[in-house]
Symmetry: C2
Subunit: 312 residues, 2 copies
């Protein structure tokens, strides 16, 4: 398939932000990528067009029944002006797994990656170069068929938008504080916790607001069945260093299989340090903190990068 | 607040369907109701306008993080041409509870009901009168702020669309067949199961497709912790008549508090029949079916009305 490009005219170009003071997620580039899907026809009309509002039917199934998935990855500009993507195939594989979980069509990973690269090249002047900055890439897919009745949609829109970003947390790379949630639940085994679906994030907001009121940055979720085992922090996977063991929650179905998580596990293994993906109860963490064997706690995520945890 | 009305011109009027052959959820009326919200400003510009596409930013938080709720209720036209709503305040109270669960603003129930009534009057010619038909009313609220970062949106759109409908299930009022799901989970205690949020429905699709392949109409969900107790059927609450007791799953947090469910419980009580809202294991239902004490099973819902279950 050929990728159509309609360049933004001078009136549609958007002001570029100050690189030294970038927040996260409010500034978008000049263009967006879109392609459409219909059952029986497959994906069609991949196109790079000026950034602007979507027209969607008020009955579009995405906004009633939540058939919406997304990914998050980053492009970096090196000192010598090359552009690097961090393990994009892994994000696109997860995109397809999320799609399958919600009965949405998969994309051709090779083709979609080519679309993404061509789109990033179109808006390459937006990739910041300062330390701690990057171009955040947000692929997403939403159900667009106008129908009120619960079943998979027959029409979808897949799109990508780009955001020059700084640190995700207001703390930057300073330690974040985390509230251990024991009332609300993010996901249960058999649910959608391991997929990157919109509904997971909506479900997490109330606990996050409660945590914020108490002065904490993020929420640490425990398992749905026993409220005992550590799962993840909505925007990050968690690691705990206890004695000489690095422990991450196992991928049992309710935790997002993070790509930064996977990279950290590989790297730590390569460094010859013991890494375990195993059930870790909040009591074990508390005991380790009390007896001094808890040496570090940190979270990993594309947006969150590697964020040390200062307080729980 | 005054409700602005922009009537559809003759070119925007939509063809009315054949009342004797109405499906569910594909045909919408000439107008829609909309009102906007901004933090610090509250709700503003309530308006009835011609039905048409929304313009939403590709970064609108609804389509990334699932801050989307809805309701479903019905208007009926009587033989003597009066229009009746079925317990609309109950739906609007639940709308506000769903909103609160997802950190979205509440609406003023009295004002919103007035908006709904004025809107229905505007499109009253669309209310069908044939037996088994009604006007399905779909209020919804979505997060519209353009921001990539997980937190509650500061902007929302609340809207209502209307659908002349027939039976929700292809079976009409004939018995539906139900598949008891023991792998996937709809909701867990501490999750969003008792709220009418978009993500709940997306999470249910895969199990529903599996059930459909096996020849069943709907999925009966069991509890997340033990996969043992009956919860609900995504589009319906469930009732079982065992000996002389009518049993409904209790509202423990993971089941939608259905308004038809509530009406059925009240009516059955008024008829002097024993009703219990209590935990009911799938084993108890199987045993009751085997020993002949299971007399009836049916589901209740606004869309599903009261649907007998023929096979599980």
């Amino acid at each position: 398939m050929e990728i159509r490009t309609i360049k933004a005219d001078s009136g549609q170009l958007r002001p570029k932000p100050d690189q030294s003071n970038l927040a996260f997620g409010d500034i978008f580039t000049d263009h967006m990528f879109m392609m459409d899907y219909e059952t029986g026809k497959g994906w069609f009309d991949p196109r790079i067009v000026p950034y602007g509002d979507f027209c969607i039917d008020p009955a579009a199934m995405a906004i009633h029944y939540g058939q919406e998935i997304f990914e998050g990855l980053k492009a970096y500009r090196s000192k010598d002006d090359h552009i690097y993507l961090f393990r994009p195939e892994e994000n696109l594989k997860r995109f397809n797994r999320s799609a399958s979980r919600l009965c949405m069509p998969n994309v051709d990973i090779g083709f979609f990656l080519e679309c993404m690269k061509q789109f990033i090249r179109t808006d390459k002047d937006w990739i910041p170069q300062n330390d701690g900055t990057s171009l955040y890439i947000r692929p997403a897919m939403i159900a667009t068929e106008a129908h009120l009745g619960v079943r998979p949609s027959n029409k979808y829109l897949c799109f990508i938008i780009l955001c020059p970003v700084g640190a995700y947390y207001k703390e930057g790379l300073d330690p974040v504080t985390i509230y251990v949630e024991d009332k609300y639940v993010r996901a249960s085994i058999g649910g959608t916790g391991e997929a990157k679906v919109a509904g997971n994030y909506a479900a997490s907001l109330l606990a996050a607001e409660k945590a914020k009121e108490k002065g904490f940055t993020q929420v640490l979720w425990l398992d749905a069945a026993e409220r005992k085992y550590i799962e993840e922090v909505g925007t990050m996977n968690m690691f705990f260093v206890i004695d000489d063991e690095v422990v991450a929650a196992p991928l049992t179905g309710s935790v997002l299989p993070g790509i930064t998580r996977d990279s950290v596990i590989q790297l730590v293994k390569d460094w010859g340090i013991k890494v375990s993906e195993r059930s870790l109860s909040i009591d074990e963490v508390i005991n380790a903190a009390e007896n001094g064997s808890l040496k570090e706690a940190f979270g990993t995520g594309t947006a969150a990068v590697i964020s040390p945890v200062g307080q729980m």
